[in-house]
């Protein structure tokens, strides 16, 4: 019998406070459960105490490692005994991003001190200025440009100072007004619905002597569609990385988006970029990405993300890839990864800083290989062109699956990459 003559409450609180200090989120309910469990079945071995504590106190898989470490440190007579069971030979997870690798693997050392400094948190109401980069688009709604910002919006990223980048980042945030939606399976009462809700109709009939006079209809609820953005932060994208981080932050803040940065490995930035302060968010993101400005492995990273826990978030999502298409993986690998991504995502948008040049052609073999799988290919070298990307994300709204299927049918992947350059808009 372990813990003979131990004050259970004091013991539990001590263990829990130690767990909390090491990042395991234990609530009061968990603590109470632990004490009740200790009472119900007093543990008689280290292993039974381990399981009792783990089942009652730990609520998520990502915290198991921290729990094991604390538990081993406290009861380290046989350190690693129950924990080692979790890494038995059959359980060796494949090398690339399996569950929660994205959280655990990158406890970054800080890299790069050239990130945006002081912010200028003001915006003035501007004269309305048209956004007409893509004038044949039916969505060319005039954007309100703060006059100071208007001038900066056309300057390529590499010529902007950190403060200007941050200012433009805020501006992008305000520009994200139209968000793509999808039809969910949940229904709500709506006059234009075409299914009759018996529950609501009978409820209404109560008022009319149980005679169902008004038929109440329900229609599917529109939900915001998930947006996933993958941003290349390799050497060749150094100039654009800061601006893209601002776009990703805007996406995360406005709605349900998942964002990742990648060079040789992928890093999930969704949580850090959601910080209220842009400055802190960008700083944290920068320090979290340890391999920035290194080589690029686009194919490996896309495949890795698709297989990981976050692969599910790309199902039916609008996926944006921000990269110049230079990849150290082979074009065939990238094509395979993009094909898989295309099958899973709702739309794939590729933004490329090089594509703004008037005579641009996707000569890089990897870029050409990826193009057939992109619904839209957009230039992204200035903040004004980022606005084009924002408009493209919003454009996803209202495209019915039938229309999309027809569109795909008429343009089989692999037909003619060149035809896709600039915008392949869903008309």
């Amino acid at each position: 019998m372990m813990l003979r003559r131990t004050d259970r409450a004091a013991f539990a609180v001590a263990l829990v406070s130690r767990l909390r200090a090491h990042g395991v989120r234990v609530g009061t309910t968990g603590l109470a459960d632990f004490v009740r469990a200790l009472e119900a079945a007093p543990p008689d071995s280290r292993s039974s105490l381990y399981w009792t504590a783990r089942i009652t106190l730990v609520g998520r898989h990502s915290e198991l490692t921290a729990f094991d470490a604390v538990f081993a440190a406290v009861f380290d007579s046989a350190a690693g005994e129950p924990g080692s069971h979790r890494r038995s030979s059959l359980d060796t997870a494949p090398t690339r991003g399996r569950p929660d690798d994205s959280h655990a693997a990158w406890q970054g050392r800080s890299a790069g001190a050239d990130e945006p400094g002081s912010g200028l948190p003001w915006l003035t109401l501007p004269p309305a200025t048209g956004y007409s980069e893509d004038s044949d688009s039916p969505f060319a709604v005039p954007q309100r440009l703060p006059s100071e910002v208007a001038g900066l919006a056309d300057i390529p990223f590499e010529q902007l100072t950190a403060a200007e980048t941050e200012l433009l980042g805020r501006w992008i945030e305000t520009a994200l007004q139209v968000w793509p939606t999808r039809t969910s399976r949940r229904v709500a009462v709506g006059a234009s619905g075409h299914r009759i809700s018996i529950r609501e109709t009978i409820g209404r009939a109560r008022r009319t002597g149980w005679e169902p006079i008004h038929l109440v209809r329900v229609k599917p609820v529109e939900r915001p569609r998930r947006v996933v953005m993958l941003c290349d932060v390799s050497q060749s994208m150094q100039a654009q990385a800061a601006a893209y981080l601002h776009l990703m932050r805007a996406l995360v803040l406005v709605s349900d988006a998942e964002v990742f940065a990648f060079a040789t490995t992928a890093t999930r930035l969704t949580t850090v970029l959601a910080h209220r302060s842009a400055e802190v968010a960008i700083e944290q993101a920068t320090s979290k990405v340890v391999d920035r400005f290194g080589g690029t492995k686009i194919a490996t990273n896309i495949q890795g993300l698709l297989s990981s826990l976050h692969g599910g978030s790309m199902r039916g999502a609008v996926v944006i890839i921000g990269s110049d298409g230079w990849d150290s993986d082979s074009p065939a690998e990238l094509a395979a990864a993009m094909a898989r991504l295309r099958r899973r995502a709702y739309r794939v948008i590729w933004m490329n800083p090089r594509a703004a040049a008037p005579d641009y052609e996707p000569r890089v073999a990897t870029m050409a290989a990826a193009l057939p799988y992109c619904d839209a290919f957009l230039p992204a070298d200035t903040f004004r062109s980022l606005l084009g990307v924002v408009a493209e994300i919003g454009r996803t709204r209202g495209t019915s699956p039938e229309k999309r299927a027809r569109r795909e049918f008429s343009r089989p992947p692999g037909a003619d990459p060149g035809a896709l350059v600039r915008v392949a808009s869903p008309k």
């Binding site: 079945a41 399981w51 059959l90 494949p94 009978i202 898989r340």
Partner: protein
């Protein structure tokens, strides 16, 4: 209800119905039974989450009530629904008899359709039933919120009738594949256990129980092979369920050991995408089954 003294008793009891659990899962199920709290099981697909609930129900000799989750699940599908047709008939009947009907006449248990959760609460058998809320991550936030009263207090409230509280709390098992992050409020109300892929010895033991026709050398070599395959870079690594299917397939072919030609013929059981099939075929040499 059968009272278990400790986790080992649960383990033995499940062993009798041919479901093998390790100490962790046994402890989790034991506390779910003893403390009367819901248990949230997570793990890769095909690791035996749903099977755990089924085996528990079987071992306790009580029905398994299953609620499959999907987006848009509402009160009408999960808790209860009024039988509107019968209500309308009752109204017509009352009219023809020149009677007056009140709300209280129409909203009685007579007109109530039970859905899985209410059925679990109002179950009157000798042993509390096992309620399996399967793949909760496939439901949406609204449904999670709907569950809170039931998970926390073991009761549900029907506005027209009042609150139903379970006399004996059903054993509630929730499963999740982690396709979506569950809300903290839901996690707080549950015990939590992460089911790992079993270690080789246990995997072999499970195969022995589930596929009695398979020969010992076949089981030994498949366990080893699956261990090797799970180390490969795959879209969908084969889980325990696939392994069982595969051994059944091999044993149906009459294989007594693992040979290359049989692996290729039965690869459909463990490779679930064309890419995985190619990867596995290409690594057969490396795994010791070269042609």
């Amino acid at each position: 209800m059968q009272e278990f003294a400790d986790a080992a008793a649960v383990q033995r009891c499940l062993d009798e119905v041919d479901y093998l659990v390790d100490e962790g899962l046994a402890t989790a199920l034991f506390f779910a039974l003893r403390l009367g709290q819901p248990l949230l099981l997570e793990g890769e697909p095909g690791v035996g989450k749903t099977a755990a609930a089924k085996a528990l129900a079987h071992a306790l000799g009580t029905p398994l009530i299953r609620l499959q989750c999907y987006e848009g699940l509402t009160v009408s599908e999960a808790l209860y629904e009024w039988n509107y047709q019968r209500q309308l008939l009752a109204i017509r009947l009352a009219e023809s008899h020149q009677e007056r009907l009140t709300d209280a006449d129409l909203f009685t248990e007579e007109f109530l359709h039970e859905r899985p959760i209410l059925r679990a609460i109002r179950y009157h058998g000798p042993v509390a039933p096992v309620l399996l809320i399967d793949e909760i991550d496939r439901a949406d936030d609204e449904f999670e919120a709907l569950l809170f009263e039931f998970l926390g207090e073991g009761s549900i409230t029907i506005p027209e009738l009042g609150t139903f509280t379970a006399t004996r709390r059903p054993v509630v098992i929730l499963t999740s594949n982690r396709s979506r992050e569950l809300h903290d409020a839901l996690r707080r109300r549950c015990l939590y256990h992460w089911i790992d892929f079993p270690e080789p010895a246990r995997a072999a033991e499970i195969l022995r129980r589930t596929v009695p026709t398979a020969s010992e050398p076949l089981i030994a070599s498949t366990t080893e092979f699956i261990g090797g395959v799970r180390r490969l870079d795959l879209d969908k690594a084969p889980g325990m369920a696939e392994t069982i299917d595969w051994v059944s397939a091999l044993s149906t072919l009459g294989a007594s050991g693992l040979v290359r030609s049989d692996i290729l013929r039965t690869l459909v059981s463990i490779a679930k995408t064309p890419d995985d099939r190619d990867t596995m075929t290409a690594s057969l040499d490396h795994l010791g089954y070269g042609g």
